[in-house]
């Protein structure tokens, strides 16, 4: 069953297309990583899925209905990001209890165990927490809500390394116990890579790639060797990245014969998903160095 179905989804914001005919679907009980550069449209897409924002055109279905203004979608979805601000007049413990009142699957025991583990005090106020602590608390709400659709938008903002690791581990363990559909948007693919099943890569408001993590790892390889031989083997449009330092090195779509490459004496190497993402989503011509070349 598909939990999310998007067809030709368009979102205009101030005459700018932030989502441009987006098509994809997400299956039930999977963890999908939503990857993209700053401003690619990740948050816009997630807020439309959560029912916060309206679509401009196209179709979006979550659990088979339009999420905007749907109480059903709201009850079965939780959206966690670093912008969550809670009332000052409630303590952290009060907030957990309030959340428990609203979410039908709320797991108070898990919430309290995480609460104690991360060293929160019951009468602390959300506003007074540090950035990382706020993110950690929001994460607890996101996990304990046990919503069939759980969305984390940049959940690790401000968290230190060990809390991040704990968070991913907690997410995975809880997911195994209570399978559900999870979407995580992140800049740090290398951190979430082991957790994910699918990767949804968006670029300039469009879906660039939607593959399993294994498919993503096999999507491209690095080739090193004689430039003429390389271009004899692969099409130029399949080349994602070129580096001429220390011999020709290209990252190229994995659509050519590996045997032939070996015969030509080219060296094949795997590309990490994180590097691949960087090359796939590179929008600028040249590099940051070019900015400083004024003459």
């Amino acid at each position: 069953m598909n939990v999310i179905e998007c067809k030709q989804l368009v979102k205009m914001q101030r005459n700018q297309k932030t989502l441009d005919h987006v098509n994809f679907s997400i299956k039930e009980n999977t963890i999908t990583g939503l990857i993209g550069r700053n401003g690619a449209g990740k948050t816009t897409l997630l807020k439309i899925i959560a029912g916060y924002w309206r679509k401009t055109a196209g179709d979006i279905n979550v659990f088979g209905v339009n999420p905007f203004n749907s109480l059903f979608v709201s009850a079965n979805t939780i959206f966690v990001d670093d912008q969550m601000s809670f009332s000052n007049s409630l303590s952290l413990l009060d907030l957990l209890e309030e959340a428990g009142r609203f979410y039908p699957n709320w797991d108070m025991s898990l919430a309290k165990r995480l609460f104690d583990y991360f060293g929160f005090l019951p009468n602390q106020i959300h506003e007074n927490l540090s950035k990382g602590k706020k993110s950690t608390f929001n994460m607890i709400i996101g996990l304990a809500a046990h919503c069939p659709l759980t969305i984390f938008d940049e959940p690790t903002t401000g968290m230190d390394v060990s809390v991040r690791k704990d968070f991913y581990r907690a997410l995975l363990k809880d997911y195994l116990e209570h399978p559900r559909t999870i979407i995580i948007s992140s800049h740090h693919l290398e951190e979430v890579e082991d957790l994910l099943e699918d990767i949804l890569l968006i670029k300039d408001g469009r879906v660039h790639l939607h593959l399993t993590v294994d498919g993503f790892k096999e999507y491209a390889v690095g080739l090193r060797g004689n430039s003429a031989l390389i271009y004899q083997l692969v099409n130029e449009e399949d080349v994602l990245y070129t580096n001429r330092v220390g011999g020709e090195y290209v990252i190229v779509k994995n659509t050519f014969s590996h045997q032939q490459a070996k015969r030509l004496g080219l060296e094949i190497s795997p590309v990490t998903p994180n590097d691949l993402c960087v090359y796939l989503t590179n929008t600028t011509k040249g590099g940051i160095d070019d900015v400083f070349k004024t003459s």
């Binding site: 309206r54 203004n69 059903f72 009850a75 007049s89 309030e98 559900r180």
Partner: protein
């Protein structure tokens, strides 16, 4: 994980409880304003003196809780605008809501606030009287209390209704401003401008409005006028906010 259906009425009830728990600022500001008003009622009062015949002179001083009630009117108006602002609005969206349940729970909250505001404001008149009894009605000063239970309860009911209507007015304005931010400047200019322009033509609209609502002799007609106005304003607020995006 299985999908759960939730009932609208249960969510509205939860939202109301959440609001009563977390919007404590609304009630502390009420307390502060009413205490200030009680203080003003105790000190400031209208007096009328006379006498001189046979060497007797007298002064009547009128004390009432009208200032407290006026301050409570102001309080509900300001706070009904406040609960439409971003921080309050987003609170609901961290949990389970849609725009309809949010509006309905806000309306219920305003009704409960009207109830609490009216009861405390009306009871404060007794506090003023007790203060006067103990501290002013001494050494030849006498306290006369004009109290009629039926009148008091009618006054209470009328105060609740007027507070609720003012709440609906503030809520409507708040929603309008959330919908189009520049209205925060345009609305007061247009409203005050119209009132002043009409006044310069010899047409005084404010006394007419006050007369329309407050000088009504039949309680039923008054009830219909007030509930009708509140209903129209709330319905308009719901219509406008129903398509609005949150967490921008």
């Amino acid at each position: 994980m299985s999908l759960k259906q939730v009932s609208e009425s249960k969510i509205i009830k939860n939202q109301l409880l959440f609001k009563l728990n977390s919007f404590t600022g609304v009630f502390t500001s009420m307390l502060a304003l009413q205490l200030l008003a009680i203080f003003m009622s105790y000190y400031g009062s209208s007096s009328m003196g006379g006498g001189g015949v046979y060497g007797i002179s007298y002064t009547f001083s009128y004390y009432s809780a009208n200032v407290v009630i006026a301050f409570t009117f102001l309080w509900i108006f300001v706070n009904s605008i406040l609960i439409t602002t971003r921080a309050y609005k987003e609170d609901d969206f961290h949990f389970v809501t849609n725009r309809m349940t949010q509006n309905l729970s806000n309306i219920l909250f305003l009704f409960v606030a009207s109830l609490i505001g009216a009861v405390t404001a009306m009871l404060s008149s007794f506090l003023v009287k007790i203060l006067i009894y103990f501290f002013k009605a001494t050494k030849g000063n006498y306290l006369a209390v004009d109290l009629n239970a039926l009148e008091w309860f009618t006054g209470l009911a009328a105060t609740i209704l007027i507070l609720f209507m003012l709440g609906s007015f503030g809520y409507f304005i708040g929603i309008l401003v959330q919908w189009y931010k520049k209205l925060a400047i345009i609305l007061p200019v247009v409203l005050i401008g119209t009132v002043m322009a009409l006044a310069s033509q010899g047409h005084y609209i404010l006394p007419e409005i006050i007369e329309f609502y407050f000088m009504e002799h039949s309680f039923i007609v008054f009830l219909l006028k007030v509930i009708g106005s509140a209903g129209v304003l709330f319905a308009a607020a719901i219509l406008i906010s129903n398509q609005q995006e949150v967490r921008k």
